[in-house]
Structure formats: C-alpha cells, structure tokens
C-alpha cells in the first residue's frame, strides 16, 4: 500500500535523463541510458524522436527532375554531395547518411534523434540572482555605448532581434553586459556564439571577470571550462549543434564570419539552439547584405556606432604596390616595398600582423622572414597544433611578427599592433575581411593609430570598397 502510493507520487520520468536531454538533441544510441528506459519515456511522450535525415521538400523543380534531396536534421546539411549511401545492416536497406557532421557520430536515415518534450527540470539555486550587482565591470560606457546598451536590453526584453553595427574597437563586448545582466537576473539562459575558437578564448576571461559570481561555460573543441548547468554559454557555433531550443537570448558576435566558413550549418545550429522566438542580437563591424538591408529598411531594429571607444578615428588603410608577390615568394624573395616596411617597423620596436591568402604561402613567407632574422617570427593557421600558444606568445610580446591567414582577422585585440596584408588582391580578401584586418590596429587609447598596408599587385574593387567603408565610418563618427 505504502509502496504503491510512493510510486504514484514519484515523477513518471527519470530525472537524470531529463537533466541530460533537456535542451539538447542527441542520437538515441548516444544516450547513456538503457533502451528500455528510453522506450518507456518515448511511450509517455517525455521524449520525442525524429528521423535523422529527412527528404527535402524543396520546390517543384526538384520534384519534376526526380532528383532526391535530403536534409540532415542535426546539422541542416542539404548539399547532395555531402550525403553518402551504403547498405545499412541496422535497417537492412540502402541507407543515406550525412557526411557533414560525421565527427559527432554518424546520422543515418534510420537513426533517431531524441529531444526532451516533458517538463523542464527544476533549476538548482541561482544565488547570483539575489546579489545587488551581477555585473562587476567597473569601466564606464561612453554616451553612445550607453544608449545602445539600453536599446539592446529593451528590444531583447520585448523579444525582438537587434543589430549592433559598430566599428572594430568600439567596445561591443561591454555593450552586451547590461542586456546579459538583465537576462541573468530573470533566470534566463543566454548564449554568445561566435564562429572562431580564438574569439571564444579571448572573450571567456573578459566575461568571467565581469560576472564573477555566475558560472560561465566556454564551449569549443578541447575546452576545459564546461559546465552543463551554466546560465551563460560562450561557444563556437559548431558546439551549438547539440543544443535544441535551449537559450532565451542569443548574442552572435562577428555574425558576418559565417559565410567565410562557407557553412550554412553554423547558422542552422545557432537558430536550432535558441528557443522559438528568442531574440537574437547581431554584433558586427561589417554586416552581411541581408542584415544590412533589413536594418536600413527599418525591418530590423539596430544601432550604428561609428566611433571607437577611445574616440580616435579608425586607421585608414594604405595601398602599396608590391609587384608579382606570388612569383617573388615562389622564388624565395619578398617584395622590396614589404621588406622595407617590415624593417622600419622592427626598428621602431612595433609588433606586426602579416596576413597572407593561403596556408602554403604562409609557410613560405614565415620561413623567408625567419631567414632575415629581424625578430622572432611565427606563422599560425587554422590546423596549427600550436596555434593557441603562438597567439599567446604574440600577445605577451615574445613573438614580434605573426604571419597568419584570415583566421585571426577578427576578435583578437592586441594593443599597439600594426598590420600588413601581403597579397591583398587575392580574392579571399574581400571588403569585409579587409575592413576587419584594418580593425586590428589602434585598439588601445595609448596607441590609437598605426599602419594598415595592403601590399598588392593591382588594386581590386574590394580593396577600394574597404577603404571607402572605413572612410565613411570615420566621417559618420565626426572626423
């Protein structure tokens, strides 16, 4: 009698499973629970199962041409080249699988993705909510920043998306603090998504210092600061793929870096991780065309900040002809104009970024600079195993010249650094990349100016646009 009563009172679902799956989306075979338990929850509708890969329902043309197209539910991949077929021994048929998100465990047409559809778990105590100040950042915002921070918070509280179009070095991160503090006080969950690991690693300590009482989780490949219960998550967009309708507010930093990854999966991941109708704040210096036109036509509320926080104008890039740089580097030489600039900078004790268009070129240029023995030189690219250490040494000033591909074009703030692009006419450097690179320079109030030089072999339209973009921002900022 007693026993049966107790049974009725206990929740009909497993709390561990609830905590594990709430706000997430996993393959059924990934769940660390027995099949029997999962089946019971599915029957009682605490767990919803979805097929991993569904046929795409796009347009009449596809129907008429008879080509079969698929969508991967986990990563949103629709590229027919990124699906493979094999005779599957689980379902006994020819099964299609997604090749795009393989490194998270294969999703087949016969696999099932589980999401939690039962009640939300009770939050463990949220002590920071009661403290009078959640944000302990002591700096002050400029008048412009102040206004944007208020607008952002207000629009987000109303559940509306917001665009912050701010030049590099205008203090975007600090503008987020107010809206974030508000969200945390309400007990909401927020995420700051950015496409690059370096940016997560740079932002995490800054937020940690500003919100010392709040658990913050940093998610990127190889991260050690993971906390599944944290109300605030800073993550690379890749990491958000496993979340499902979890976050109440979304901040996307450097939103325009998406197309650089040529990867619609990242946008899909961010949208999937947010709750339906969760407000999204887009922060960028160079908004992509879609957001730009939505903002200019008034569909998307937003604000433009044309002045850096220290009140000095953006450094305007200079073009410098370098001849056929590709051929010269191939012959083991560096363009003379570039050489002179590097020597001058080293003599005046500056630190410099050298951006190059490709990894092969990066290796060659790094080696050539090292041979000249002017200073300590290192090269970093996306697959470099020592990438983080090298960036750290550069930050500390032990490395004087850092040769890099476009991976470090955003979000990395180093005081007093100057920048050169070797091969600015390469198609990989478009307007936005070039503006971002120029934005690396003059970040601190003590050294607000510095050289940005595009070494080229023929000026491209993108270079001209980038310069115009910066000049226009400067004139809007009142210079």
């Amino acid at each position: 009698m007693l026993l049966s009563r107790k049974d009725n009172l206990s929740p009909a679902y497993d709390e561990h499973l609830q905590r594990y799956l709430f706000g997430r989306e996993c393959l059924v075979e990934e769940l660390p629970f027995s099949e029997e338990i999962i089946k019971r929850h599915v029957r009682k509708r605490f767990i919803t199962l979805h097929p991993g890969i569904e046929p795409a329902t796009d347009g009449l043309m596809a129907l008429l041409s008879g080509t079969k197209r698929w969508v991967c539910r986990r990563c949103g991949n629709t590229d027919p080249r990124e699906f493979g077929y094999c005779s599957c021994s689980r379902c006994g048929k020819t099964c299609v699988y997604c090749r795009h998100c393989l490194n998270m465990g294969v999703v087949r047409a016969c696999s099932r993705l589980a999401t939690w559809s039962g009640p939300a778990p009770e939050r463990t105590s949220l002590p920071w909510r009661d403290s009078s100040r959640i944000c302990e950042w002591t700096g002050t915002l400029s008048d412009v920043q102040e206004k944007v921070a208020d607008d952002l918070d207000q629009y987000q509280s109303e559940g509306k998306s917001f665009l912050i179009w701010a030049v590099c070095g205008s203090g975007k991160t600090e503008i987020m603090f107010r809206a974030l503090e508000h969200a945390l006080r309400l007990g909401e969950r927020a995420v700051l998504a950015t496409p690059r690991t370096d940016v997560v690693r740079e932002l995490f300590p800054r937020f940690k210092a500003a919100f010392p009482k709040v658990p913050i989780s940093a998610l990127y490949a190889g991260s050690e600061d993971k906390d599944p219960e944290a109300p605030f998550v800073i993550a690379t967009t890749h990491q958000l793929i496993r979340f499902y309708r979890y976050f109440d507010r979304v901040f996307i930093d450097e939103v325009d870096a998406f197309p650089y990854h040529y990867d619609p999966m990242l946008e899909y991941a961010v949208l999937k991780s947010a709750k339906e109708k969760a407000p999204i704040a887009y922060l960028t210096a160079t908004p992509p065309p879609v957001l730009k036109s939505a903002f200019l036509s008034g569909k998307l509320p937003g604000a433009k900040i044309a002045r850096r926080f220290h009140g000095y104008p953006l450094p305007v890039p200079k073009d410098c002809w370098a001849g056929n740089w590709r051929k010269l580097v191939g012959q083991g030489r560096l363009p003379e104009s570039f050489n002179q600039w590097v020597r001058a900078k080293m003599e005046s004790g500056k630190q410099i970024f050298v951006f190059v268009p490709s990894v092969t070129l990066l290796r060659e240029v790094t080696e050539l600079l090292q041979k000249r023995g002017l200073a300590r030189v290192a090269g970093v690219h996306a697959e470099d195993p020592d990438r983080h250490t090298k960036v750290m040494f550069f930050r500390e000033g032990q490395i004087r010249i850092l040769v890099t591909t476009t991976i470090l074009e955003r979000g990395v703030t180093i005081s007093g650094v100057e920048a050169a692009v070797l091969g600015a006419d390469d198609p990989i450097f478009d307007e936005r990349a070039l503006v971002q690179i120029a934005g690396r320079v003059g970040r601190s109030a003590s050294q607000p100016a510095g050289d940005v030089i595009y070494f080229h072999n023929g000026r491209t339209l993108e270079m001209i646009r980038a310069r115009r973009h910066i000049e226009q921002m400067n004139s809007e900022g009142g210079f």
Binding site: F83, L102, R108
Partner: protein
Amino acid sequence: MNGDRCLFCRKLREEPLHFRTLLSPETPPGLCRSCAGKLAPIDPRRSCERCGRDLGRLDGRLVHGNICRDCERWAGSGRNGLFGKNRSLYSYNEMMKEIITAFKFRSDAVMAQAFRKEFRTAYRRLIRDDPSLWIRIRKGGRLFRNDPSHVIIPIPLSEERLQQRGFNQAVLLTENLGRPITEALIRRSGEEKQSKKNRRQRLKIPRNNPFTLDPQTASSIAGKKVILVDDIYTTGATLRLAAAAIEPAAPLSIDSLTLVHG
C-alpha cells in the same frame, strides 16, 4: 555520389581530362592527387612473397630471400594451414590511419569506393588474371571475367559490432570488385577488438576460433580457390583463423587481399 570532389578532403579533385573520362557523365569517386600522394602504395615486386609486406620499409636483416621474418615464424609455427599468401595495396602510415579512422570509426562508408580501381587491379594481380581482353582472346582463354574457380569471402563482423557500426568494412571493400560475394563465415560476439590488443595477445591461440563456417555455403567452397578480403593485415592472426575455419570445406587454396598492411 559524384566524384568531382575528394572523398577525404572534400576539395575539387581537378582530375586531368582523359579520353576515357571525356564522355562519361560522372567521374567515379576517389581521392584528390594531394591526398593520394600521401599514401604509401606497396610495389608488388618488392613485397614479401607471403604476406605482401613492403620489404623496402623493413630492416634488411629481417628479410631472407623475399620472405620477411614474420612469415618465417608463421611457417615454423605450424599454424599456417592452407593459408597461402596475402596481398595488400598500401602500407600503414599517418594518412592511411586518418582514412581508416574516417571509414571505420566515423562510419564514412563511401570511403571504401576511393580505392575501387586499385582494389580491382590488386585482385586481378592476385589471381593472375590478365587485365586486357585482347591478351585473353589471343591466348584462347576465357572471355568472361567472373572466374568461377574463385570464391570471394569477406571477413565478417560479429552481429553485435555490425549493429554498432552499421556496415561491414570488408564487405564494402569487396563490393568494389564487382564480383559475387560469398558470406561464408560467421563471427562470434564478445571477443575483444583486435585493434585494442598488442602483438603477443593477438598471436596467442584463442581457446576457440571466433569464426565458424556457415554450413550452407560449404558446398560452394569445396575445390575452389578462396580469396579472403579484409581491411587491414597486421599480424595475420585474424586471416589465419578465418582460413582455419574454412579449411573443413576443402577449398583448393586460401589467399587474401587487404587494403592495408600495417
């Protein structure tokens, strides 16, 4: 699945235009030159007569004649049975390790198709099948490629592992040959993964053979030349156990073909 992109690095392959490919609507899937260049193909003229190991990569002191030390030890162990020779396409290296990881452990099944052409060539060489139709006609030999005297048997996975992975990598590799496949072996569940064992553990004689012969197929093997297919030859223990399981069906010979010699 179109083959204009590399199966491994997903970049455009930029295969040179060829008379054979000029009119074909689709290129067969494969690797790009830069990825294929990182592999270590085994030159059949410089490989161990028995296990197909690349002798060029081995210390000269371990080679006698054209046979490596391992094969001598196998011959001396009395456990070789009917097992004749093995042929492999590639030596194991970093690149191959990554490809195998993608293929087996990340379940990227289409990776098997990357080696279709090479696998076919190696098979023909193994069974000494002349590649060109013309030579066969001149010699008055068979016109048909499906040589009925050979039975191709992929090394199976246990039911458990098959469910886990969703496919058998050996079967996928065998499908490249475009010949009939006989799944004559059954593998018992519950043995430890070979890839988790060291050499001594692998060479130890297991108390009972994990492979058993499917009795229904025994009649189709009798008097035929058996070709076993697997993904990797490491110590040769697995293939010899499989051979031992087939032996009761009285095949004429047992040889094997693997993608990698590791």
